[in-house]
Symmetry: C2
Subunit: 357 residues, 2 copies
Amino acid sequence: MKQQLIFTNKPGEALDSLVAKLAPKGVFVLTDRNVASQVIPFLSAMSAEVAKAIIIETPAGDVNKNLDCLEAIWSRLNEEGATRKSLIINVGGGMITDMGGFAAATFKRGMRFINVPTTLLAAVDASVGGKTGINFNGCKNEIGVFAEAEAVVISTIFFNTLPLQELLSGYAEMLKHGLLENRETFSALLGFNISSENFNGERLLELLRQSVAVKERVVTEDPYEHGIRRALNLGHTIGHAVESFAMNERKAPVPHGYAVAWGMVVELVMSNMLEHFPSEILHAYASYVRDNYGAFYITCDDYPALLRLMAHDKKNPSPDKINFTLLADVGAIKIDCIVDKDTITAALDIYRDLMGI
Amino acid sequence: MKQQLIFTNKPGEALDSLVAKLAPKGVFVLTDRNVASQVIPFLSAMSAEVAKAIIIETPAGDVNKNLDCLEAIWSRLNEEGATRKSLIINVGGGMITDMGGFAAATFKRGMRFINVPTTLLAAVDASVGGKTGINFNGCKNEIGVFAEAEAVVISTIFFNTLPLQELLSGYAEMLKHGLLENRETFSALLGFNISSENFNGERLLELLRQSVAVKERVVTEDPYEHGIRRALNLGHTIGHAVESFAMNERKAPVPHGYAVAWGMVVELVMSNMLEHFPSEILHAYASYVRDNYGAFYITCDDYPALLRLMAHDKKNPSPDKINFTLLADVGAIKIDCIVDKDTITAALDIYRDLMGI
């Protein structure tokens, strides 16, 4: 079975027709408190099935993707008489789709579930791969299973109320997929103004569809992450170092998506230096990032700390060899590139230039 | 992937060669306190891998197949640095193989596990089907997943220290499989003296292999329990009624396996009345049960309560139609037989006769 992906800005109709087809014995909607107040009333007005479903609410935030909340979900399902033939609709961000998917996959050894991501990042992430789970003992996603939803219903109408920072975080993943795909897809993304208050929802839905298709293709080609799937780490070697640096040295955490957006600038510079990645595309991307994400401010004095953090990455063959995914062009992927510290240092200099630091 | 079944009375050698083949990063042994003291020292002497493994001990008994103990197992795995490439060897009864299988299937979205059942019942049950899980909110196996072990290592040498009652409970399942198979397999079972203190372990291992093969065939034919798999309910319609009756009316619970052994006597009587099941085989079976399990004492006054309990069974189409699996001969299975109350009453009379009540 592969989960069905439905891109629509009429999510109510999609849900009602899915429920009619699946004919479950009882429908549950899992959501968090924020989504329950901001999205559920709106979704209930569009879907008769959501309107009459039993709502299970959890506290919001990744910190609540834990065993206590999972236990509370299992208890509610048990008390409300859910069976293996019931259905859970998970409405929320990645925290809800991860935890709700796991709750469903393990209740009575597996009931069916549908995901309705309400953030851009969850729409990109939760659509492919079937990863479910919770955090445990301070470790992210330590407990979970692989389990696919019956369907994922993706709508951009949920994104209108998202804070811009969350939209941009998700959009960084889409930019990454564009870079892995081809020039056309990538220019379309650079031509879309995600920061505008009145972005075009139908257009974003179309871009999202293309983006998810890229991820789907990569994951299908390499389900066990032995090769090409590592291309999805583009921007992440620098990005993770920036994230840790911001958190530990500056005590001012940055969103993961922002770190990846900046990380991709540095990695495209390296791609340009080592693999002849086209300069004009590098410059166009750097401008987009500067205009939308701003710059992550660094000086030469920060380089040793950043290099040390990159060296710690578990993907490296040894501490002084740092592993990157680079590009010879948009869509021309080179995995497992070992880059020396002098080249990285030079790339960080050029990044500061491009960002106007 | 299908789990590998290894029938051997050299379990230490089997485990060491499995571990060598799987080449895990770290080996854990999950067991309960009783097994830890009675079996692990003995198994460690036979297996270098068990001797050097990290032992995780839980309290014994089905009452501890719960979320608290599962959480403790996850914590130990996390603290000891288990990864997705580590291996858990579950050594114990069904409680350990169920809970350990679930812990493994969910830790970091799935690590590998091997089951080493130390009770006869667990050997028959845990070998086929991949059911894992824990009890929750007072419901048996409410939370779990289907996940197969890399291998199940089955040895009768563990059974020497089992209380006779536990051996007999497991043997009832084997008798059931024999009845579903053919006359030869079934007579071999009636010819084996499981109650003897010095039973022949090699012979029991051979009978166990046949028994597991029957279950495997039935489950493979009907993985979703739509048809023939319900044959595995033989003896259970009466058996469940007897179990509930003993627990609730008599306040003296009987082991599940005993209830099934008695239930099969009644259901073979009905098979004889309605489907011409051979009388001589019915009598031979009834004698085996009387000699080994004794009789469950009932009078006519108990019939209404028993019939009421049977009527509650969720497998029935309606409260006054009671559903049974019957046999026209050993191996000639008739599922979904509706039997009226007069016939059941007559069969209970004959049961009392056969049991010498």
